[in-house]
Each structure stands twice: as C-alpha cells, then as structure tokens.
Symmetry: C2
Subunit: 452 residues, 2 copies
C-alpha cells in the first residue's frame, strides 16, 4: 500500500485535481490520499488557507463574515465547475463554514485553528466526491476517526494512540481521501499542526498503515544538492537518507518539512518526493540507508539569521555547571539554540535571531553577567550557517580541509566550525554577506565534476 500526499499547488484547481486522479488511478497500490487546501494557481493568487485566516479574523472581531464565506465557497465552486461536479458539495462547504464561524471563540487560537482547517477538510470532501464521480470508489475520512493529538499549550503532535486508531485504514477497499493539517484532541477539539501540516498527516497515515512507500507530491521534480536560487543548475538528489535530509533541513531544502519525517523515520517507511506536474520523473527517495555513491557530499544547505551569545570567564572550564547554568538562562527565555562552540575560557551559543527581542536580549546579558560572573558577555548578530552533508563523509580524511580551503579562497573568514558529533555533517558559521559566495564555492568544490 502507498500513501500519497498532494500539496497545495497539486490541488489548487480542477486541472490539478484531474492530474491527481490520474496519478492515483495509475497505481492501484495508491489507496490513501492526504490532501492540502487549494493553494495558489499562479504567483499572485491567494491560498484558500489565507482566505480562511481573513475570515477567522473577521469572525473574531465580530464583523460580518458572509462575504468572506462566499469568497471561499466561490474558490471551491470554480473547482467543482471544472470537475463537472454538481454544486451540492459547495452547499455542504458553505454550511460547514457558517457552522465553524459560530463556533466557540473562548480560546482564539483554537477558534482560528478550526476555521483554517476548513480548507483541507472541505477539499478532501470535494476530491472524494470527484473520485467517485469518475468511477474511482473513494471515501472521505475525517481526522475525527482516530487522528488524536495532544492538548494546549504544547505544539501539536499526534499521540501514540493515533497510530493504533488509524491502522485499520490499511484494509480499505476504496480510496481514502484524508484532509491534511489537523487532528482532534481526546476532548474533540480541533488543532492544526504548526508547520508542514499536510506532510505530517501523510507521514502519520503512512506510519499507521505501515505503507510500503509514502509519496509526497509537490510542484518540484526533486530535491537539489544545493539551493537552485543560489547555485546554477545543481545536481538532483536521487536518493538521500533520513539523516542527510534532516541535517539539510536549513533553507533551500524546505520541500519536505523535517517534522514530517519523524513518523515514517521511526518505522522506516521510505519517502518519495515527486512532482504532480511531471509524475514520470523519478523524484527524490528518502530512505533509511543507501549504497555508497562514491561521492562524499550529498548536499549543501545554508541559512541566515543567526546570532551568537559570547561569554568568557577565566578558568571557566574548571567550573562544573557553568555551561548548564548558561543554557538554563536561555531556556528560561524559551530560546532554543543550534551550536555551542567553546574555547577553554569562553563559550558561544548560536541561536536563531528571530527568537530575540531587545527585551529578552537585555535580560539574558544581564543575567549572564551577574549570575555567572562572566568577564565578558556579548550578543552578535548577522551570521549564516552553511552545512555540508553526506553519509560518505564518515571517515573521509581531508574533507574538512577541502571545505575550509574552498571557503578561504572566497576571502571570507570562517567564524565558526562545528564538526564532531554528527558524522554526516560539517557546519561553518560565516558572516551573512558571504553566504551565497561560499555556497557557490563549496558547490564548485564538491560537485563541479558530477554529471547532473
């Protein structure tokens, strides 16, 4: 059995949904289909999810919502038209939206969640209706039937029983059409996944039914070995391990969200990233392990927007507990960090700048200075991280030398090097302005002679 997920652009219009039907029909193993809400049909289009957020905000402010409901319904009507479906389904959708708008507003976050989820939920109903209309026996299944998630205030994730509840879907005769992006708490409250929502739903379904494959249909042919916006015509990745994919999850590799890998990673279901608009392309397979390719590096990613908290104190490394207390101060501000390079008497904590505000930055500096009696404390901004990833990097003598040499030829200074925990990655910290130049130089070093 194969679980397929179709992203927003794959289900944005009647034409796209016809492609989806053809893909599903072409392989009888494709029995479970997770779908997003209709995405953008062109560059300046508005996604249904964004229309729903406008609707939710109007409802929160007790403004008139009927016009905004109509806008959403009209998007679905256009799709139904193109698919030669009768408008009954649109009446169902309009009714559903009016009901949601009347819902419990006591918790604003949960109320907005319930409106946002209407995009996926109704699209799944529409697509199931369409499949049936063209002779593909299909059934809409609601996340209410088993996709149990945790309660606030934690970020949404599926509880272990969700996998048990959803396992019987493996016996389906019809094609299951399942809305992505949300689940229900034990008390029946709807909650959406933060990011990569429909990818996560597909992954949960694939894990629950122990699928042979999880196909993730999007609008690109594959994952590239480097960001194609920065590097010209980068090599396509045919096969990549979970670990490599995860280490590459910085920018340029946002095709498949890393949180969505978790459920399939745990039981070893391979993932295939494919293009709805070019389904014959083999795409990129994400697998537990793969044979050596003879190439040490699989991909290079880069991301900007990092800050560094630098702390120095004489004889710091004799002080048991110093690092722990420093991290505790960041934890108190609910800040997560990426790396902690250290000298004997100093340590730097590298974190994403978007977690910092002038207020928490000031609090952190004061606390580190006073509570840890540090000699020097500074927060620096404007760094990028460049990550070189490859299973072939294990025990590859000289790889760090090649990378550092390639970087030094750009004239950029290496602000940080982090190697030694993950055997499949090597991280360089550089000033943001050098990021693209360095990515190009490293790509040249490790991929120059590779056939695309």
């Amino acid at each position: 059995m194969i679980v397929c997920k179709f992203g927003g652009t794959s289900v944005a219009s009647a034409e796209q949904i016809q492609k989806v039907a053809n893909i599903v029909k072409s392989n009888p193993a494709r029995k479970i289909v997770a779908v997003s809400a209709p995405g953008k049909r062109s560059g300046d289009d508005i996604k249904v999810t964004d229309l729903l957020i406008h609707l939710a905000m109007a409802a929160v402010k007790n403004e008139d919502t009927e016009e905004k409901i109509q806008t959403v319904v009209n998007r679905f009507k256009a799709i139904a038209d193109g698919l030669a479906l009768d408008y009954a389904i649109c009446d169902v959708i309009a009714e559903d939206l009016r009901e949601r708008v009347q819902g419990d507003k006591s918790n604003e976050e949960l109320f907005i969640d319930s409106i946002k989820a209407a995009g996926e939920d109704n699209n799944a109903k529409l697509i199931a209706a369409y499949f049936n209309s063209i002779g593909m026996p299909a059934r809409y299944v609601s996340p209410k039937e088993g996709l149990v998630v945790n309660d606030l205030p934690e970020r949404t994730f599926a509880l272990p029983e969700a996998y048990i509840n959803l396992a019987p879907l493996k016996n389906t005769k019809e094609i299951i059409v399942f809305p992505g992006f949300f689940g229900y708490t034990k008390a029946g409250v709807l909650r959406t996944f933060d990011r990569g929502g429909s990818d996560i739903t597909g992954s949960i379904l694939a894990a629950a039914v122990e699928a042979e494959l999880y196909e993730n249909f999007t609008d690109v042919d594959c994952v590239f070995s480097a960001n194609p916006k920065v590097v010209n015509d980068p090599v396509e990745i045919k096969e990549i391990t979970y670990r490599e994919m995860r280490e590459l999850s910085y920018a340029g590799f946002s095709v498949f969200h890393d949180e969505a890998l978790m459920p399939v990673y745990k039981i070893g279901v391979p993932v295939n990233i494919k293009n709805t608009n070019n389904p014959s392309a083999p795409g990129t397979r994400i697998v537990p392990s793969r044979p050596a390719t003879g190439r040490p590096v699989t991909g290079i990613s880069a991301d900007s927007g990092f800050s560094t908290l630098y702390v120095s104190k004489y004889l710091m490394n004799r002080e048991v507990g110093f690092g722990r207390k420093l991290l505790q101060i960041l934890e108190d501000e609910n800040i997560s960090y990426e790396h902690t390079p250290s000298g004997l008497d100093d340590i730097s904590v590298i974190m994403r700048s978007n977690q910092l505000t002038p207020e928490n930055e000031a609090r952190i500096l004061t606390r580190v200075k006073n509570e840890l009696q540090a000699d020097d404390v500074q927060m620096r901004h404007g760094f990028s991280m460049i990550v070189i990833v490859g299973e072939g990097m294990r025990n590859n003598t000289g790889l760090a030398a090649r990378a550092a040499t390639a970087i030094s030829k750009t004239g950029a200074n290496i602000e940080m090097i982090n190697q030694g925990s993950s055997e499949v990655s090597l991280v360089f910290g550089v000033l943001q302005e050098f990021e693209n130049k360095i990515l190009q130089a490293l790509y040249g070093e490790f991929f120059a002679h590779v056939q695309a």
Copy 2:
C-alpha cells in the same frame, strides 16, 4: 618591586640556593621571594614533599615517626652544611616536625596538609637565615600573617581579604622569604593549594603588592611553541599573552600552572618565566597584550585522555532544554567537560576520561537514555585534543584550511573541529594514536620557516 618564586629544583640543594641568593642580590627590586620545598637534586632523588607524605602516612597509622623525621631533617642538614649555616636552624626544623606530627588527626586530609607544608615552611626559614648570614637582610614571613584561604570542602583558594592583608608587604625594607603552597583558614587551619602550589602563592603575593613583575624561576629557559619531547627543537616563545598561555594549558605547557595565572591576570602584572640555572636568558614573558609578531600561531599544544559522550535524538534541536538537561546529568556526577560539538540531531560532550569510572559511566548512559529519551547514546574513549593558539589568528582567513590540510596529509581523520568562540584558538579532536604525528605536522606547517 619584583616578586620572585623559586621552584623545587631551584631550592633543592645548597648550590642551588646560592644561585637563588645571587639572583635576588643582583636586582634590588627583588624584595619578595616565594619558595618551594627542596625538590629533586637528580633524576632518582626523592623530593622533601614526598618524604613528608611518607611521614604523614606513618603518623596517621600511629607508626613510629622519629626515623622519618630524621630523614627530612637530614635533607635540611645537608643544605645547611653546604651553606655554612649552624645547625640551630635544623633543631628548629626537627622541633617543628615533631610538633606537627602530634597535631590534630581528626581530619586526615587537613593533618596530611599540615605535614606536607613543612617542606616549604622550613625551607623559607632556612633560606631567610642563609640570606641574613651572607649580609642580605631578610625576614621569614608565615602565611599565617594574612594568606587567608577558604574552608573545606571546596578546593583551596585565597579569599579576597588575603590580598588586603598582604598588601603592606610592599613597604618591606628587608627581603621577605615566604613559603609557597599553603595558607590558613580564618579559624587558623592550614590548607595547601591543590596544584601549582608555590606558583599560586607567588602570584597572590605579586597581585597583593601590585608588583611591577612576577618572576617565576624554574629549571627551563622558556616556554616552547610546542612540546620539545615531540617536536625537535621548537621555537622559544619570548612573549605570550595571558589568553594564549591559558589556551595552551594542555600538556607540554605545564611550566606554569594556569590557576596560578589568575591573581596576576586580574590586575595585569606581567609574569616572566626564567631559569635559575641560566638567569641571563630572557625567558618567556606572559603579558596582558603584545604587539603583532607577523606570525598567526604562537603555540600548539596537545593532550590525550579524552572521552566523548555521543547522544542523538530526532528533532533534538527543537527541544528547548535538551542540552541543559544533558549537562545537568554530568554535573550530578561532578564531571566537567571541555567541548560540546553538535549536529542538528546529535550532540557530543567531550570530557577528560580520568573523571569516568565504570559505575558513573553506566549511570550516565542509563540516565541519558531514560530521562532524555535519546535514540542513541554512546561513550567513546581514546581521544586527543590538539589546540592551535595565537592572538594573530583573529580574522586570519585560511588558517583553519591550512591546519586541516596539514592534518589530512598525515592520513589521520579529524574527529572534531571546534572553532568559533575563542578568537585565539582552534581545537581539533583526533584519535590518540595520531596525536604526535599531527602535532609534528602542524608545527611544520606553522613554524617551519621561523628562526629559532
């Protein structure tokens, strides 16, 4: 005013103490002299401190101590003989030892401390007597007169009031001879410094009197840029900053203990490492800052005996508090660590192996596995750290590339690279068996064309 400290070999015999007198006499600014206990006179000699430890152990076991007291007294007698001092001073020493042996044994650690300190204490009395005998007005000053230290169970360090108490020594007319290695608690209990004992006393005195210079006399001409036991004829370091010296405090740079730098570092007194047996050699100066030398690297040190705790968990870097909890587990075992290189989903904690036992290792692995729900936890042993240090490394483009290239040419794999916090150091982790080969290769890379 200059504070001088003379180490064990510098005061091991009458001949050596005559050299000390000549050195002190040759510069009237040398007004305060901190001394060690008599050290080894030759390779197979026994240090007075070791004789005293034997004495202390006998006393603890209530064995007869008179013979062991005589052995110690005879060492001092031989010195007194050679210095043409009468034996009155030796009677004083014998009496002092008998009194110490009768001391309070209720706390064994403190009892042994009080016996051990007799080496420095009596040597200071003897040297003061000798100075006076040759017409150099001198006065023995006991640490009781102001060198106040903290109480058990913390490691011994001087309390802030020690500096205030000892400051008036700056007005001395005579030469002060001060025993190194110990101080007294507020309650008058003797405690010794753990390591680098007399170096610490000299440093405290230099800071207390705000000396223009702290001269540390030992038995080598200087600090070398690399361990001369591994690298042939390494370059002598003429001037080094506190920071550089501190970052080099791994093996091969044990001439001056890093804890001893703290008091002078705080108020900026320069240190001069000199050779009692070759006092005209300029030695190595440790200074707050120094002019650029045009050479990026000042020294390279290496040390073996490191272990790595490797922990991996999917999506670890999203989990606020993960690193803090991991370090807390080590702190509960009272283990300090050196570095924490990290990937996205894994972190390694590098620590000195001598802190680990089969028992605490098993406890750590179990706790990390259970409490942090890690996917994989492993302890690995047998690593060396190689540290390249130099103030000239700030913003030195390409230095990491040169170092990594030199290492890769040895055929060794780089297990860890840590750069990015200290601007004056770059740390490589390698397997222990490659340590010497890599040290030689890095020395060749950065010092090959330097005139010794």
